[in-house]
Every structure is written in structure tokens, then in C-alpha cells.
Amino acid sequence: MGVAQQAADRAERDQIRKRWLLSSPALIIIFFAAIGPLAVVVLYSFMVKGDYGDVKYWQFSLDGWFNVVAERDMFDDTLGLAWANISIFWRSLKLSFITTIITLFFGFPTAYFIATRKPDKRDLWLFLITIPFWTNILIRTFAMQEVIRNEGIINSALMGLGLVDQPVQIMFTDWAILFGMVYVYLPLMVLPLYASLEKLDFRLVEAGYDLYANRFQVLWRVIIPLVKPGIVAGCILVFIPSLGAYVIPRVLGGGKNMMLGNLIDLQFGQGRNWPLGSALSITLMIIVTLALLVYVRNTAKGGGNGHV
């Protein structure tokens, strides 16, 4: 190896060391205030619960994980399934899934509409989607509450038209959570769909019509297959925050209609079962990570990169 080669190697090593130094503050902050604490959650899920919250240090047990799906009867100590938890899991999955389907159904035409405007008008329409996206989630949840309350717009309209005598109870039901999530997460569906549709080559659509396809066939056989990466991206971007929703079910669902996020909160509050809360958190994270893997594989296969 020549002297020049050695010098070049050393320069490259120096360069890489400088790059590590330069990125270290960001990495350190994220380590201490994000990744490190997550590792502690994993540890806590395997410890014995403390009597007044927290855990008994270095006393290990699988109870936290066990309690995710099962519970011991208080009186005769028999084993049973923890139906309360299971029903909350089921509600979270069900509502997130339905939210994804509804936002896709309404978001696709909306994204298509924006993508087919004249280029100079598209930015304005896109901006109109971006504004709600950046509006505080609390404000949007509160706005939805005003719409669906017993004295809210929907009920006033229904009663004014004489369609119902009594206000329809929407608040504090699963419907309220569903309305709230669709309302809040719709922009998350539209943005990646738009990113895909914007790149759509309409010559292919034209070719479809030339070959005597009708509108439905063109949509189903030409457009949808072409923008599939955008559809997958949008669905996952909606499904993931829906599953971890906390504010929307807390405000609109009330105390009874909990989702996973609220169940986790409960274990760290009144439930005083931190190991169970930790195990539930890790479970939620595993589901989210699996969904993200689908997303990464999808984007790696080409396109569909979200606008956000």
C-alpha cells in the first residue's frame, strides 16, 4: 500500500469521525428522550407491579404479559380470559380498520380531484388539505364534538326537520370515535394518494378508453393498479395513528368506550399496574412496527412516497 493510499484512508476515517461527532447531539437527545425510555418499558413489562403504581425493582415476573389476555378470578383464583382487555383490542382494531376503509373511500376521489385540476390550481387545493392536517388535533376533535353533541348541528338539524323527536345519542359511543377519527385522519389518506395520482400517466387511461373500456373498468383495471403504492401508503398512514389514538377516544368516547391508548393510560393511572401497561404498550408497538414493515417494503418496490 502506497503512502498516498494511506493518507487517503486516514482522511476518509477523519471525515467519518467528524460526521459522527456532528450527528452525535441529535442522536444523544433521541437516545435519552425516546429510544432509551422505550427499552425501560420493555424491562418494566417483566417486573412485579408495585402496590401504589411503579414496579418492585428487580423482581421479575411474567404477570404483566399474562394480564394482557388473561386474568385470575378474585375469589376462586381460577384462570379466565381478560374479556375487558380483549374487547378493547377488538374495538381498536375494528374502528381503525373501518376508519381506514372510509377515509380511502372518500380520500381517493378527493386526491383524484386535486390531481386532475390544472397544474396552477393544484397547489391551492392541496393547501386546503394541508391546513386541517396541521390544525391541532384537539381543536379538530372539539369541532367534531360540537357537530355530534346532543345539542349539536346534526341533532339540531334532525330535530328541526322533524325526523326525530329525541336527539340521537352519538357522543360517548363507538360512532363518535369513528366520526372523529375519519375527520381527523382524512388528510393523512389524501396526501400520499395525491402524491401517487399526480404521477399517473393519463396516456394509459386514454389507451384504456381506446380499447373500449368503460369508466369503471378504467378505474378498476388501469388507475387503481397504477396507484396501488399510494393506496397502501395512505391506508397504513391512517391505520397506525388510529390504532394508537388517545385524544379522540378520550374526548369523544368518554370513559367507557376505551381504545388501546386509553387502556394503557388507565394502567399507569387508576389501574396502578405499570407492568401490564408496559406490556400493552409493547404489544401496540409490535403491531405498528409490523404495519410499518409493510409500508417500507411497499415504498421500496417503487414510489408511493407520502407527501408528508
Binding site: 442522536l27 433521541i30 425516546a34 390544525t135 374526548v251 404498550s281
Partner: protein, 266 residues
């Protein structure tokens, strides 16, 4: 049909799209509308008045929460933007090196984890540290906010750097500019819109945060969003509409500025 056949139109799509825009804006518009209500109700119109803006302005709890939110957002967004800029410079414009993918994953990690999980994780760790050190100031909230703001600040800065012409810096070096001078006189001015955009994203993200703040805050450390969350549980007066309206105005202003800054070409 005189209009002919349009290949881009789909029956019903425009209708659904316009309905979506209406649905997105109507509830928020109603919220803003009732902020100007003279009466106590958020659903019965009793005439125009600015009384709720006045009462919100004079409410000391709102004042304190607003100042606290602003302080946290400014400090967290500033630290996040500075560290993200350094990280972006260290992770772009280079051949892949060992640890580069690791850095990407690390920096974007806060985006991958549900907020509620990060929130309880920080609750566990910070409540322990509070007991050990006896310190229970705003530092915890600021640390938490900085961490999840970094990926948001990082994105536009990295995008700007990747679109940058490498030859400019090389030219500066050829003209005997020391590395720091080259950075200050060449790189930084070109990078500036990206840094500004990153800062504004981070600022809005910090200002908006509810869940993580709710779990990390100590007693008496309400930010504007956690104050509002607390109020929603109680009976609601148009004061909360007035606060939301001002909050909304600030968000729209920042997003509009971001929109124009990030659109500026190099």
C-alpha cells in the same frame, strides 16, 4: 354532448371531493363562528361579541399556559433545528458509510412509535429522575419535545442539502476558504430556507403536542393544549372556541409561511 369526452373525469368524484372539503372545513368554521357568540352557549347564536376573546385574554391560567407553550416550543424547536442541521450535514452528500442507515433509523425513530407509547415510556423514566434529582422544572417537557421535533426539523434540511450543488463548496475550498468560512459564506446561505422550514415545522409540532406533554408535565405545568384538554372535560363555554380560534390562526399563519419558504427554489 357538446363538451366531448374527458378522459380525466370520473362520475361522482368531484362531488365526493367537494363534500370532503366541506366536511373538513364546516366543523372548524362552526367552532370559529361561535367564538364570537354573545351568549353562554356554543350552539345557540345570540349575537356578535368579542367578550370571550376578552375573557380568554384576561384568564391567568390561559396566559400562563400560552407563555409556557411558547417558551417550550421556542427552546425545543431551536435545539432540535440546530442538532438536526448538524445531523443533516453529517448524513448527506457522502458515499454510504458504516452506520449511515443506523443514523437514519435512529433520527426517524420518534416518528415510528405511537405517541402514547413514548408518553408512558417518558413517564416511567422521568418520574424516576424527578425523584432522584429533585428537579421538576420544564426541562423534562423540553427534552421530550426536542426529541420528537428532531425528525421533523431534519426532513426539510436534508432535502435542501441533497438538492445542493456540491461544486460550490469545492470552489470555496479551491479559493483557500477555511472549512468554517466556506460553511458560513457558502453552505449556510443556501441551506437557510431549509433550516427555517425545519424550525417552523418543529415549532408547530411542539406547540400542538398533547399526549406526550400530558404524561410528562408536573403539577402546574399546563401547556395550552393540555389546558384545553382539561377544559373539555368540564362544561364548555365559547371561551374555549376563542382560544381555539387564536390557536388556529397562529397555526395557519405558520403553515402558510412554511408552504412559501419550502417552495422557494435554490
Amino acid at each position: 354532448m357538446s363538451k366531448g369526452f374527458s378522459i380525466t373525469s370520473m362520475p361522482g368524484f368531484s362531488l365526493i371531493a367537494l363534500a370532503c372539503f366541506a366536511v373538513l372545513y364546516l366543523p372548524v368554521a362552526t367552532l370559529v363562528f361561535y367564538a364570537f357568540n354573545a351568549g353562554q352557549s356554543v350552539a345557540m347564536w345570540e349575537g356578535f361579541s368579542l367578550r370571550w376573546f376578552e375573557s380568554a385574554w384576561q384568564n391567568t391560567a390561559v396566559q400562563e399556559a400560552t407563555i409556557r407553550s411558547a417558551v417550550i416550543a421556542v427552546v425545543a424547536a431551536t435545539i432540535a433545528t440546530v442538532t438536526a442541521t448538524m445531523a443533516a450535514i453529517a448524513t448527506t452528500r457522502t458515499a454510504p458509510y458504516r452506520g449511515l442507515t443506523f443514523k437514519y433509523a435512529f433520527i426517524n425513530q420518534p416518528l415510528m412509535v405511537p405517541e402514547i407509547v413514548t408518553a408512558v415510556a417518558l413517564l416511567i423514566v422521568f418520574s424516576r429522575i424527578k425523584i432522584w434529582t429533585g428537579y421538576s422544572g420544564l426541562g423534562y417537557i423540553i427534552a421530550a419535545h426536542t426529541a420528537f421535533c428532531i425528525p421533523f426539523a431534519y426532513m426539510p434540511i436534508r432535502a435542501r442539502l441533497e438538492g445542493m450543488d456540491l461544486t460550490l463548496e469545492r470552489a470555496a475550498a479551491d479559493l483557500y476558504a477555511p472549512p468554517w468560512a466556506a460553511f458560513k459564506r457558502v453552505t449556510l446561505p443556501i441551506l437557510w430556507p431549509g433550516i427555517l422550514a425545519g424550525f417552523m415545522l418543529a415549532f408547530v409540532i411542539s406547540l400542538d403536542d398533547v399526549v406526550i406533554t400530558e404524561f410528562v408535565k408536573s403539577a402546574g405545568q399546563e401547556t395550552l393544549p393540555t389546558y384545553m384538554l382539561g377544559q373539555l372535560k368540564r362544561s364548555v363555554t365559547p371561551e374555549i372556541n376563542a382560544i381555539s380560534t387564536v390557536f388556529l390562526g397562529i397555526s395557519i399563519l405558520l403553515v402558510t409561511m412554511f408552504f412559501f419558504i419550502s417552495r422557494k427554489k435554490a
